[in-house]
């Protein structure tokens, strides 16, 4: 079953900005990577999913509920890390988490302690005085607090150091194995490659490719046949480059990294 459905979603901001006739689905328990450069329309799409803006054309649903009209019901089971964090700057991190728990009407158990430990965050200080990384950690803790079934993460690792980034990827892996549906928007290839099963690449508000990580790579697989002077050197070449050898002929294939694939969709054109 598809948990997140985006159908012909359109929002034209003029001057080529916006999203145009965007359609994709995220299956239940799937981790979907939403890849694209700045200004491609990732956040605009997410704002529609969050019910912040009303679709001009098309529609989107989460768990069968309309994202605009049923937003507050969807939010009950949704965790969100905004691309631009918005806290009450006058609060301390602790006050903010207390507020979030009560404001959401959470009762009893929540994951606060575990998450704070995982990201080594001490939330006692004023949010105003926190570094970008600390704020990001606080945003992550607040989003996962109520153990939601659906996660919408807009560039969730920005500002985190590599160690914390990998802890976050680890957390996503665990959530994935617990059957959570995740939409991860990013421009970091490694992050997407390590966590996502399927990827949608967006450019200038249009989806240019949607496929599994494997299929995307397959499609960009290039095979070469080379002939070497001796059978001996052919065998050595096949061994070194992981090809298959038939006499003096060796077949090798080059797998592009996701980054190269990404550049393939963006290279040459004007900036998205």
């Amino acid at each position: 079953m598809n948990e997140i459905i985006v159908e012909n979603l359109t929002r034209d901001y003029g001057g080529g900005k916006g999203i145009f006739d965007l359609s994709f689905q995220v299956g239940s328990g799937e981790v979907f990577g939403f890849l694209g450069p700045n200004g491609a329309g990732k956040t605009t799409t997410i704002r529609h999913l969050m019910g912040f803006i009303r679709p001009k054309a098309g529609k989107c649903t989460i768990h069968g509920l309309d994202c605009w009209t049923k937003s507050s019901r969807i939010q009950k089971n949704l965790g969100y890390i905004p691309g631009e964090l918005g806290f009450f700057e006058d609060m301390t991190g602790t006050e903010f988490l207390d507020f979030t728990v009560k404001y959401r009407g959470l009762s009893g158990e929540n994951r606060r302690k575990e998450l704070l430990g995982r990201f080594e965050l001490n939330p006692k200080g004023k949010i105003k005085k926190m570094s970008k990384g600390m704020k990001q950690k606080l945003g992550i803790v607040a989003a996962f607090l109520h153990d939601p079934e659906i996660l919408i993460l807009d560039e969730p690792t920005s500002g985190l150091d590599p160690l914390m980034q990998s802890r976050f990827v680890q957390l996503l892996g665990e959530e994935k194995s617990r059957g959570k549906t995740i939409l991860l928007s990013s421009h970091i290839f490694e992050e997407v490659e390590r966590t996502c099963t399927r990827i949608g690449i967006i450019r200038q508000g249009r989806l240019v490719a949607v496929d599994s990580v494997e299929a995307l790579r397959e499609r960009h697989l290039r095979t070469y046949q080379v002939t070497l002077p001796t059978e001996e050197s052919a065998r050595a070449f096949a061994r070194d480059f992981g090809g298959s050898c038939q006499g003096r002929q060796v077949t090798v294939s080059a797998r592009q990294s996701l980054e190269d694939i990404f550049m393939h969709y963006y290279g040459g054109g004007e900036n998205g």
Binding site: F52, S71, Q75, Y80, P82, L85, E89
Partner: protein
Amino acid sequence: MVNGTLYRREMKGSLKLLLFFAAIITMYVSIIISMYDPEMMATLDSFSQAMPELMAAVGMTPGASTLLGFMISYLYGFILLVFPMVYAILRGNGLIAKHVDRGSMVTLVAAPVKRRTVAFTQMLVLVSGIFLLVAYATCLEYTIAEISFPGELELQELLAINGGLLALQLALGGICFLASCIFSDTKYSLGLGAGLPALMFILQMLANAGEKAEAAKYFTLFTLYDPNGILEGSESALLGIGILAVLALVLYLAGIFVFTKKDLHI
């Protein structure tokens, strides 16, 4: 309809500003009431004779013979009009538009809380603050009057003119709240939310000051509040209060409606 957690947080956030304006009101009210004294009245009247336009502009008209009449002349022309209004402007802007502008609205709407609830709660915070200021002023006026001039001030009359004042301040607050709901940028929210009430107050001063500028009174809400008229029980004064109360209701409902339907680019 109301989110208790948000209400408590925002009331706590209103506290400093409320205390500040309460302090200002305390100072003016106690000074002015203690100035009530037939001899001093003569001095003030002589001011009015010397510079009638200026005194009239700030609502200070001579000739009041009772304590309440004196208070209407010297408190209800400027101090009790302007200070609660400035509170409403600052707070009205802070309750919606500032959260949208600064991005903290994300926390409020990315939660299982309806937008209508968010807006209604914030409206209630604004209304509570205005109510507290006017209620505080009422208690203060009565207490000080009772201490300084026992038996001079009729509580019922005071309640009547302050009830009218509350309606006026709620209507002004409604303008600020609606502006805050319409605009996602504090620049514009403050522009309308502060600009319109301030402009209306200036028009009121103009209308008070001169006969030629009297037509200005048709463009300001302050005209609808006539404390002397309320005391006399004049129908037009009571009608004015009714209009202000209805206007306040309409403005708040419109604000909530606009906020529920608007696109939030946060």
